[in-house]
């Protein structure tokens, strides 16, 4: 059942990616619309899948691949929110593929049963803690998308190449502003996630708070990258290219915290 669901989901997200990319290369608004609806279809399917897994495995985050699948779902959720609020479909070109890749990774991880999360950790603390953290990751992915859009558009303006992509991408001020908002939302969520994690260690005996856990260290470092960027923007008016670069560096930190730590460093969070 899992495989069938995954295969369908992968196909739907792939179709979503292709339609979004096709939109950027042809400028056909109808294609953009199709891409958007296909992505919504994928989201509905994915939500059903997550709920079924939850019921079946007895937990939302029973396995490493559950968390990756949740991340993909969160990325699509954030995309749909942005598309709904701003009517901007071009951001989909950058984030729907990210969701597709995350789903693909989840699918590959599915076969490795040894990455199951220990039963003593499986409770509502874990759900709240990880769901909020993954939502913040998804917001950072969107910020990364806006950063790329900014850099491409700026390059087109500076090189005076008014191509189709130049026409389709939003104004520099808009990409910058939306990217900034995504980072703001991401930082707020991440702060909440960290606090929930810290409280968890206070109330539950089995889990001990420790500063030396590598995941904690890298999460704090990632958090600092974003908070620093926000502060400099506030004080010195950093914007534009610098915001875009920091969104990219920030996402690299997120990726290392999420994947790198799991693979290379010992941690209580190693799944």
């Amino acid at each position: 059942m899992n495989s069938l669901f995954f295969h369908t989901l992968l196909l739907v997200y792939l179709a979503g990616c292709i339609l979004h990319i096709l939109f950027l290369s042809t400028g056909n608004q109808r294609v953009a619309k199709y891409g958007y609806w296909v992505t919504i279809g994928g989201f509905v399917l994915h939500s059903a899948f997550i709920l079924l897994r939850w019921q079946h495995a007895g937990h939302l985050m029973a396995h490493w691949y559950d968390s990756t699948s949740f991340l993909a779902w969160a990325i699509i959720l954030i995309y749909l929110c942005i598309a709904h609020l701003t009517h901007l479909r071009t951001i989909g070109v950058f984030v729907v593929p990210a969701a597709f890749i995350a789903t693909l990774v989840a699918y590959t991880l599915q076969t490795q049963e040894n990455t199951a999360i220990p039963a003593y950790l499986q409770n509502y603390w874990l759900i709240a803690h990880s769901a909020v953290i993954f939502l913040s990751y998804a917001a950072f992915v969107a910020a990364f998308g806006f950063g790329l859009m900014y850099l491409i558009e700026e390059r087109k303006i500076r090189e005076k190449q008014h191509t189709l992509i130049y026409n389709l991408l939003p104004a520099l001020g808009r990409s910058d502003e939306l990217g900034h908002k995504c980072i703001l939302v991401g930082v707020i969520l991440m702060t909440m996630g960290i606090l929930i994690g810290a409280l968890w260690t206070q109330y539950v005996k089995e889990v001990k708070w420790t500063w030396v856990d590598s995941k904690v260290i890298f999460t704090i470092a990632t958090w600092l990258v974003y908070v620093l960027q926000l502060s400099i923007r506030q004080v010195f008016g950093w914007r534009g290219r610098k915001t875009a670069y920091s969104a990219i560096i920030g996402l690299a930190a997120v990726l290392f915290t999420y994947v790198g730590v799991n693979l290379f460093l010992p941690s209580i969070h190693a799944f």
């Binding site: 608004q29 303006i157 500076r158 005076k160 026409n167 001020g173 502003e177 010195f236 008016g237 534009g240």
Partner: protein, 436 residues
């Protein structure tokens, strides 16, 4: 037989003074439409009158509808027939449909992709609709033409990209700033192009205009036009801290703004974006300025290149649009052909239904069936009517789509309407407006 005819003139073949003579003012339109539809053979009419074109679209029951319209124009505007003939064109049926679709798709416009024409067509159609001058055929034709115009604009990029320098500047400004609403424009020096650009920017809700000139009085004069702030310009550039868009067109022989100066200004304005437009020759702004973060510099050549590229793009998009028009014309043509036989088909079905329900009524009264049996008899009757009429209906539509299927006989012109007439005579069907 009814023909769709268009007779008209446009900037392609006629000079302005002729187009003026042929044009219909707002107040003349209703009267002209009435006069036109009062003519014996004219069934439907719409008049389109803009500064670039004057066209009449009509459905005429005559062999030579073009002559009817030309005569009307000649009489109405008191123009010599020879002159009229020289500067007008006339299209019939499919060609008329194609012409209208080309017009709504803006393929026939002076600047391909211009947005006004679709609105003008909608307006013209709405007026003739209100005047009661249109009916079945023109209603369908114009509804389709408007949807073709929309389709071309959504499926191609025919309307994308500015095609004049001042619009190109406005468009660029919109690509840099999210909105122009709270932005300030500074004009340094004076000149037609910079004033025109500033005017477009003001139209796009720029909130403030600063006019800097070497002579204060000149600055005051220009500032008046935009409700702006005049400044006597000297070496001091500090007013640029407030400026989001800078248009420079002085006749200074050297650069007014160089990289270090701008870097300092950018720092003071907290690196908010600045768009600099250098229209001056020789240039006012050092090209090095474009290396400053968040500052974007375009000179006159850059803007001209943008316009040229946009025009070229539109030409390419026009080819795609032409394909769309071709497709839609073919679709409309087949609809138009079956349209002529539809009323007869409908009348035939109605007649059969009428007979069946009368007979069924008397039969059911006598037979006293259970409600289940009654339903079965009713369903069977429907099914018989359907099956009896299926083949003739299908054949009639087929012939309407391909009139070549029938061989012309000596006493007829070999058109599909001969079948329509035969059916009407054989079954005693009532004549309707749209067929014979």
């Amino acid at each position: 037989m009814n023909q769709i005819i268009t007779v008209g003139t446009s900037h392609h073949i006629a000079p302005l003074d002729f187009r003026e003579k042929l044009s219909f003012s707002e107040s003349q339109l209703t009267e002209a439409l009435q006069l036109l539809t009062e003519q014996p053979d004219v069934r439907e009419a719409t008049i389109l009158s803009t500064c670039n074109r004057v066209e009449i679209y009509a459905v005429i029951h005559s062999k030579d509808g073009g002559a009817v319209l030309s005569e009307f124009l000649s009489n109405y505007h008191r123009i010599e027939p020879q002159e009229l003939k020289k500067f007008t064109y006339s299209h019939q049926d499919v060609d008329a449909v194609r012409h209208l679709f080309n017009v709504t798709a803006s393929l026939d416009s002076m600047v391909v992709g211009e947005p006004q024409i679709l609105g003008q067509i909608k307006e013209a159609y709405a007026q003739s609709l209100a005047a009661g001058a249109t009916s079945d055929i023109l209603n369908r034709l114009f509804a389709k033409a408007i949807s073709v115009g929309k389709r071309v604009r959504t499926e191609t990029n025919i309307a994308a990209g500015a095609v004049s320098i001042s619009y190109a500047a406005v468009e660029l400004a919109k690509k840099i700033f999210q909105s122009l609403e709270d932005k300030t424009v500074a004009i340094i020096g004076a000149g037609e192009m910079s004033e025109l650009t500033a005017r477009h920017l003001v139209k796009n809700n720029v909130s403030q205009v600063i006019v800097a000139n070497r002579t204060y009085q000149r600055a005051v004069d220009i500032a008046k036009k935009f409700n702006g702030i005049p400044l006597a310009y000297d070496a001091d550039l500090s007013f640029l801290v407030e400026a989001d868009i800078v248009i420079s067109s002085t006749d200074a022989p050297h650069y007014l703004i160089d990289r270090p100066a701008l870097a300092e200004i950018m720092k003071q304005r907290k690196h908010r974006y600045m768009f600099l437009i250098d229209i001056a020759v020789p240039r006012d702004i050092d090209p090095e300025v474009s290396k400053v973060d968040n500052a974007f510099l375009y000179n006159i050549d850059d803007l001209e290149a943008v316009v040229a590229a946009n025009l070229e793009d539109r030409e390419q998009e026009a080819e795609i649009a032409t394909q769309i028009v071709k497709e839609e014309v073919a679709k409309f043509q087949s609809r138009l052909q079956t349209f002529e036989v539809n009323p007869t088909i409908k009348a035939l079905h109605q007649q059969f239904q009428g007979v069946a329900s009368r007979e069924l009524g008397t039969c059911l009264d006598k037979a006293q069936l259970t409600s289940k049996q009654q339903k079965m008899v009713e369903a069977m009757t429907q099914s018989i009517i359907k099956k009896l009429l299926h083949q003739p209906t299908k054949n009639l539509r087929q012939i309407a789509l391909n009139p070549d299927l029938i061989e012309a006989t000596d006493d007829s012109d070999g058109d599909h309407l001969q079948y329509v007439r035969t059916l009407q005579e054989l079954f005693g069907l009532e004549e309707t407006d749209t067929t014979e």
